[in-house]
């Protein structure tokens, strides 16, 4: 038996779990408001852009998005296994790829703001 490398993804999974637990409910609520046109001046381009322009904002956005992604990717991998999808390697590759692409895209977007 050798030590597993699961900690690479488990670290972000656990951190992401905590971050999403604190933030995702309120973020989804805001998104819901936005989707329902709850208030016209929500999510104006200007305010969002301003937030994403400073370094602190960038860091927060980066942290929240990527940790959530990795959290979800890892947990969903296990969920699929629990549903009986036994091609774990394929599942893991695809899901982690998605998370990786999301991470890279986030970095690029943030850098270009």
């Amino acid at each position: 038996m050798s030590k597993s490398n699961k900690p690479i993804v488990w670290g972000p999974f656990a951190a992401g779990g905590t971050v999403t637990a604190f933030l995702t409910p309120v973020l989804t609520l805001l998104a819901l408001f936005a989707a329902m046109r709850f208030s016209p001046d929500m999510f104006t381009y200007a305010s969002m852009h301003a937030f994403a322009s400073n370094w602190l904002g960038k860091l927060i956005i980066f942290g929240v998005i990527t940790l959530s992604l990795w959290h979800a990717a890892h947990r969903f991998r296990i969920t699929l296994f629990d549903f009986g999808v036994r091609a774990d390697l394929v599942v893991a590759t695809i899901l982690y790829m998605i998370a990786a692409i999301g991470t890279v895209s986030t970095i690029f977007s943030l850098l270009s703001i």
Partner: protein, 128 residues
């Protein structure tokens, strides 16, 4: 050989119907789908934001509509379920010992709920 142990196979795709606690577990795990999807939505939103005002407006418009509402609602429910299930087990994963006593689990969970409420309110006011 007189022995012949009988092995009961666990049904690989339907085992979780056997006990309510397994169903609760699966519900918790499935939240990851919505959290993941929502995070991807944020990735896209962010990309649109970086592409300029029109792109971002397009993104918002696309979100508006019954499907967007439905999705956000589902994500909200999933996210809340995730949060509660996550906070409720923190004392197990990270017990805090003070001298000879462990800080009661209820207090640790309570503290998490309190922080959660404060954080949510702050974000909410910032957002609105």
């Amino acid at each position: 050989m007189s022995r012949n142990p009988y092995v009961r196979e666990v049904p690989k795709t339907s085992w979780f119907f056997r006990q309510p606690r397994y169903m609760r577990y699966m519900a918790r795990e499935v939240t990851s789908f919505f959290i993941g999807a929502f995070s991807l939505l944020l990735v896209v939103g962010l990309k649109r934001l970086s592409e300029g005002p029109e792109a971002f407006q397009g993104f918002l418009d696309a979100l508006r509509g019954p499907w967007g509402v439905l999705f956000c609602l589902a994500a909200l429910v999933a996210a809340v379920y995730h949060s509660t299930s996550w906070f409720n087990v923190t004392p197990q994963a990270m017990p805090i010992q003070r001298g000879e006593e462990f800080v009661p689990g209820k207090m640790i969970v309570g503290a998490h709920y309190a922080v959660w409420a404060v954080v949510s309110l702050i974000v909410l006011f910032m957002g609105i």
